[in-house]
Each structure stands twice: as C-alpha cells, then as structure tokens.
C-alpha cells in the first residue's frame, strides 16, 4: 500500500466496508481463521480484529500445541506496531542527555576525529569580521540607549556565532523568519551599518518607516521578514513560507530562529508538527541560551532541551555547540542540504548562553550571579574562540583586529550621527500601508490630525514634518 492510499484510508475511514474489503486481508491472519469473521468497516475492522485476536491469543495460549503463533504486530492506523507483553514505561528522560556537536574547543583548537566542513580563508575571515562587527554594533547601540539617544535595544552578546555562522551557511534566497536576537543574519547579507542605525532612529530612510520598535529590522531585499514582537508567531509563518517554496519548487529553504522560551508556545508545537506532515524545507533553529528574561531553562521545560522534541514530531534534529562557529556553520550547511534535497524540516538546537541582559529594560544581575555571566562571557566567548582558530591558521593578526574594530567603530559612530540628524518620516505617512489603498475613514482621520497639528503647532515637536 502506498503512502497516498494509507492517507486516503485514514481520512475516509468512516466510509463503508466495500472500499476496504480488498485491504482487509492484511489484517486477518491465520490465527483468526477459526474465529468469528472480522466485522465490516475497515477502520473498525482493525479495532475489532485487534480485540478479537486478543481473545484469540488468550484462547490460543490454552491450546498452544494446536494453534498458530499469536500475532506479533498489528497494522493500526498510523502504521504497523509490534506488541510486547512487558509493561514497560518509556522514561521521561534518558540516562545521558543528547550529545552536543562541537569541533572547536575553547582554545580554538580543532578536536580530534572531527568531521569538519572545509572552509576557505576568505569565508573564515568574513565570518570573523562579521562577528567582531556585531560585537561593536551591540556595544555602541547599547551605549546609545543608555545615553538616551534611542529608547530601547537588545544585544546578541554570546550568540555571535549563532548569528553569523548560520547565516554564512545559507544562501541569500533562503527566507529568514527571525525572533529578534538575530541581526547578525542581516549583517551577513549586507545590511549596512547605516541601515541598522536608520531603523533604530526611525528616520525617513528606515525601511519600516518608523513604525516598528527598535531592533525589529525587516528587509525584503535581504529576504529577512520584519521582526514581530510576539514570541514564536514566526514559526508557523516560516512553515507557510516553506510550503510556498515547495509549491513553486524553489531551490531554497526557510529558516526560523527562536529561543528556548519560544519552545513553550503553542505555535512551536503546531509549527513543527505541520512542517513534518507537509514535508516542507524549513530549518528550525532554536537558540537555547538558558534564559527567557528571568526564567531559567529549568523553569521553562523538563525533558532534555528542545532537540529531543524533534523526534516526537518526526523531524531530524541535532544539538550543536552554539559558541562554536564552525560547528554551527557545518550543521546549518548540512541541514539546508537535507531540507532542500529531501524536502524535510530539520531542527537544530544550539546550546549557548545569553551573556547580555534580555534587553535594555532588564538587569539580569537581579536573577543570576555575576560570576556566572562573566564566565560565559570570557571562557566560552564564541568570538574569542574563533579568533584563536583563525589566528592559529595565520589568517588574522592583532593588527587586523585593532584596525577592524576601530574602523567599524568610526563608521558606526558616523552612521549614528547621520541617522540621528536625518529627518523623521512625515506624519502623513503614518496612515499609509494599513491597507494597499488608504480608505475613506483613514483619509478623514489623517485630515483631522493635520488640522489639529496646524492649530496647535506649538504643542507638538517642530522637527517632524507633515
């Protein structure tokens, strides 16, 4: 029986027996020959068949010598399952947690027996410089918020490898559905420092036209969907986009990022389930950084993290060291290949640590020890680790480092200045893009606002144009 016909039977299992008589023979085996016939409709047939055969089994155990061996497995809806007479519960946890894929240790040395994907010097240097740039971006914008120049920011400190290495393994046609801690993916794809600054200052060059809050970047030309604040809503959307790619037979996949906290949302479960049922090319990338604002992972879930959930949904999964850029690169590279060639979802859980606070509105020292934070910041820093590796290969030096960082700092400071000085989007624009064409009521409201601003010009900021 092909997969298609099995599905068909599942859906229409409440139809009459005549459609199923041809399949009934699979469910009746020799031991029921002398028993009352299995009842009519296909689906119920299997259940009654099971029940009757169960009685048959108990009868046959009394007549062991004369009866054929009792059934060992049964074709239940969903597939064939073997029976066991031992009442054993599957444990909620394995003795050992799922292993974590890592190829580079903290000293930047390749571990023995690794299956590392070869990467060129060019790619490695590009990855490193982007990671370093991301650090500079985070530092400067965080400080800008503290200085009151922007009102909000959140950093990716500790997750630079996740951001850059995963982006490096993808192609520019792969659609990205981010959570909010993945600006590095945009950076890799060519979003300029000025474009970042424009969004943060919400000026007229911002692609979002000043409508979304800080760090909620979005860029159609980079195939990076605008960040939406609610958690995990992007997961089913990514599945939908992958479905669209499958329909149009495109040679690309979708990737969606989310944190450990997101894995508790209903959308996560439904999204993973759907993607497996529909067999679509989507990579689920979970940044398990141990914290959901102040909720530690132990309060978020029981069970061995997120990677084990993949199996429950029928999705191939891998656990990877999120602070190891090479491992992340290698895993995403392979996941992308699997997703596209086999049209399957893939789940990647990257273990890491959220070194920074959740955002500028948070002070994580209130709920976790400072030395823990510092340990992860220094000992497990993905940037330091990767730097050691490329320096050992002779591809990078201290001079390169200081020059690169100071260049970026200068460029970024200039970008921030430019962005701050650039005009805000016109107020009238606030009413556009709610619909494709502005409807009457919005036009009326716009006119009403215009009149109000004109009448009370002194009570409104003067630097915002109409």
């Amino acid at each position: 029986m092909s997969m298609a016909s099995i599905k068909f039977i599942k859906r229409t299992s409440f139809l009459t027996s005549s459609q199923f008589s041809s399949h009934l023979h699979r469910w009746i085996d020799s031991s029921s020959r002398n028993k009352p016939p299995v009842t009519s409709s296909g689906r119920f047939g299997t259940v009654y068949g099971g029940r009757q055969l169960h009685t048959a089994a108990s009868i046959s155990s009394d007549q062991l010598s004369t009866e054929a061996p009792s059934r060992q497995e049964l074709n239940f809806p969903g597939g064939s399952v073997k029976f066991t007479s031992k009442r054993i519960f599957i444990s909620g946890s394995n003795e050992e947690r799922a292993h974590c894929y890592r190829v580079l240790n903290e000293n930047g040395e390749l571990v023995i027996d690794n299956d590392l994907l070869k990467i060129t010097k060019e790619l490695a240097v590009k990855m490193y410089t982007n990671m370093a740039t991301l650090q500079v971006i985070d530092t400067i914008f965080y400080e800008a918020q503290r200085q009151g120049r922007i009102s909000f920011y959140l950093t990716t400190t500790g997750e630079e490898a996740i951001n850059i290495a995963s982006a490096a393994a993808l192609s520019n046609n792969d659609f990205v559905f981010p959570q909010y801690r993945e600006p590095g993916v945009l950076l890799w794809r060519g979003f300029t420092l000025q474009e970042f600054a424009n969004q943060l200052f919400g000026n007229k060059h911002d692609y979002g036209k000043g409508r979304q809050m800080h760090v909620h970047y979005g860029s159609k030309k980079h195939n990076y969907v605008t960040v939406s604040s609610p958690i995990a809503t992007q997961i089913p959307q990514a599945v939908g986009a992958a479905y669209s790619m499958k329909m149009e037979k495109q040679d690309s996949c979708t990737i969606t990022y989310f944190g450990d906290g997101s894995s508790s949302e209903g959308d996560f479960h439904a999204g993973l389930n759907f993607s497996a049922v529909m067999e679509v090319p989507v990579i689920f990338f979970c940044r398990n950084n141990g914290w959901a604002i102040s909720t530690p992972i132990s309060d978020q879930l029981r069970g061995d993290g997120i990677v084990v959930r993949g199996k429950a949904y029928g999705i191939p999964s891998i656990r990877v060291d999120g602070n190891d850029a090479l491992a992340v690169y290698s895993a995403v590279y392979e996941a992308r290949k699997m997703a596209i060639e086999n049209q399957t979802p893939v789940l990647i859980e990257a273990l890491t640590y959220r070194v920074g606070h959740h955002s500028t509105s948070d002070d994580s020292t209130k709920y976790r020890p400072v030395d823990e934070i510092e340990w992860w910041r220094n000992d497990q820093s993905p940037v330091k680790r990767f730097r050691k590796w490329i320096e050992n290969k002779g591809w990078w030096s201290n001079d390169n480092e200081s020059q690169h960082r100071s260049n970026i700092r200068k460029e970024l400071a200039q970008a921030v200045q430019n962005a701050e000085r650039t005009q805000k989007p016109p107020v009238a624009d606030m009413f556009n893009n709610v619909y494709d064409v502005s409807p009457k009521n919005l036009n009326e409201q716009k006119e009403s606002l215009r009149k109000t601003l004109k009448q009370h010009a002194k009570e409104y900021p003067s630097n915002v144009p109409w």
Binding site: G218, S244, D267, K440
Partner: protein, 399 residues
Amino acid sequence: MASSIIQRIGAATSFDTNNNYFHRRSFSGRQSSFVVVRSDGANITTRLKPNGGRTHHLVTNAVATKPHTSAASKPGHEILLFDALREGLEEEMDRDPRVCIMGEDVGHYGGSYKVTKGLAPKYGDLRVLDTPIAENAFTGMGIGAAMTGLRPIIEGMNMGFLLLAFNQISNNCGMLHYTSGGQFKIPVVIRGPGGVGRQLGAEHSQRLESYFQSIPGIQMVACSTPYNAKGLMKAAIRSDNPVILFEHVLLYNLKETIPDEEYVLNLEEAEMVRPGQHVTILTYSRMRYHVMQAAKTLVNKGYDPEVIDIRSLKPFDLHTIGNSVKKTHRVLIVEECMRTGGIGASLTAAINENFHDYLDAPIVCLSSQDVPTPYAGTLEEWTVVQPPQIVAAVEQLCQ
C-alpha cells in the same frame, strides 16, 4: 445582461423556516438603476462615487464581463450558496496558480460545509491543504505563505475556532504590511461559517465580526446570497489586503440563479436590497432574510422600508448608507451580534457622527442579547432578532 441585473436588484428572497430553500421573487416594478451598487459591468460602476479610489481600481483588473452583450445574455445557472462559493474559489484557482486553500478537512473531505468539495482531487493535496488542528498555526502558516508570494485562503471550520487564531490575525495579519513599511503584503482570505445556527451550542454560534472589527489592517465582508457570495469571494481573493469573509451556517443552502459570465463585486460596497422611502433598515448576513420577511408585513401595513445589506463590515459603505439616511431620516439596524460592542454598535456611532443632522429620530438597533447562545431551540430562537420585532420597531420608529 443589463436587464437581468436590474430585475435582480429588487429581488426579495423569502426565508422559509422549515427548510432552507429560498425562492426568489422579483419586484419587477422597481427600476432602481440609480442606486445600483453591484459593480458588475463597467457602465454601472462609474455612476458610483469612488470610495477612496477603490471602485476604479477594481474595475480595471476585475470584471471580465463585457457590458455590451446584453442582446445575447445567457440565462444564468441555478446554484446553492455553498456551491457559488466553490465556483468562485475554483475560478480564482484556475486563474491564478498562487491561490491555495488551507484548513481542517478542506481536502478530500471537501470541507465541513462542502465549500471546497472537489477541489483537492482537481488541484492536488498541496494546493488544497488539510491541516492538523491548530488554528493559530495554520493561520500563521497562511500569513507566512502570503508574505512569500502565495495567495492563501484560510478556512476556519467554524468562525468561532478562529478565536484561537486571534494572535496571528491581529498581531501579524493586520500589522505586518504596516510595520514592515509596506515591504511585505499579506493577501490572505480568512473565511468560514459563523453566526447563530440551529442548536449548535454557544461555542459554535460566535459572531466574530464583533471581535475582529477593531483590528487595523484587515477588511471584513459578509455574504448573504449566492450572487454576492461568489462575487465577494473572488474580490477577496484578488485583494492585496487581508480580508475576512463571513459566511453564515444557515445560508449555505440558499438557491439563486447567478450569471454564467464572470463577475467580481466590490468589497467596500453595500447592496440595495429594496429601495424605499420611510425608513432605512441596515442589516447583513442572515438577518437580511428576517428583515425581508418583516418587510412583507410592513408593506402590507402600508410602510415603505428601504433595506440595505451593508455587506462591507469594515469599512462601512457610508456613502450608500448616507444617501439612504438623507432620504428616509430614520434608521433601524438589525444585526445578529450581541448588543455590546457589535457591528450595530459601531454602525450606530458612525451614522450618528456623520449624519446626525439628517436623523428625525434616534437610531434603533436590534441585536442579540448579551448572552451566550443557549442550546435549547426555543431559547436560541429568542436570542436572535425575529421579524415581528423588526415590524414593531419600524412601526415605533415611523410614528
């Protein structure tokens, strides 16, 4: 073609409470071409004042009907409402390969009300997708697919289940076009049966239009006849905005003769069901039939009610409504929503704000009570506005 349209304008459909078959009776005397709001046929459309430029926008790409084939007009074909929806779906899926359908049991089962029957065998399992039971997730999926180029139609098996999708609809569907600065558009259609049925229980008798009406960025329309069901379905699919199409559980077996030629209706227009002079009765969906039944009684008593099926729940067609109010000076709203926060409540506010000077009496709004719909048949009947109440309200209003 033109003559058959005009004939249809004044048509009343009577509600037979025993079986759900509806029969058309045409008021052939009512030549009301001046207030025709059906935008099939370019010559008729242009008489309407554009509503924010929308009307002209649609005419150029929508209607395939050639307005001058009146001599060779075909008789049309009789069809039930659910089938008219299906016809609309099928035509759009033939026309544009990006149109796809997703929902629970929409594929091989054909949909719980058979609106998608036959489509899965024709277009394949991928284009007519059976989803697992997770409304928020498959609505989110539809949104993601729409952002990357498809035009999904998301079916809620019952509108009430879409409450589970509220997050995706409000926070993403309505918002992403705006927050992305216009970069990503979400041309989804979210549809499903709603309203109070026959003993379906409180959870299956929700009126979601109340809850959704505030969400910026979405459009809402309610169909009530096979003709407007097909036309609105096609218009909703072609629209680049997210549109929520409200169907009613009890109207799926309505029968009507609709044109063989292709036609697309305007999403923002109301429908003049019965022109009149004494009072404007605004209604939509199933209540249209209760109103028309009450209209029969009212006509016998000597009243001349003007009945408008508002069809567009968001935004309201204040142009058509306004013209009517200016003519009759009295307004009665008949709706199925709850009294608090329903479509009627918003419509009352909108009319009061805009046409206060033209009103000779306060607006009367008949709605369902603020109770969950009881299961018992008699109790359920009393939660829905019935024709005698409508007659009484008009009599009082016109004193």
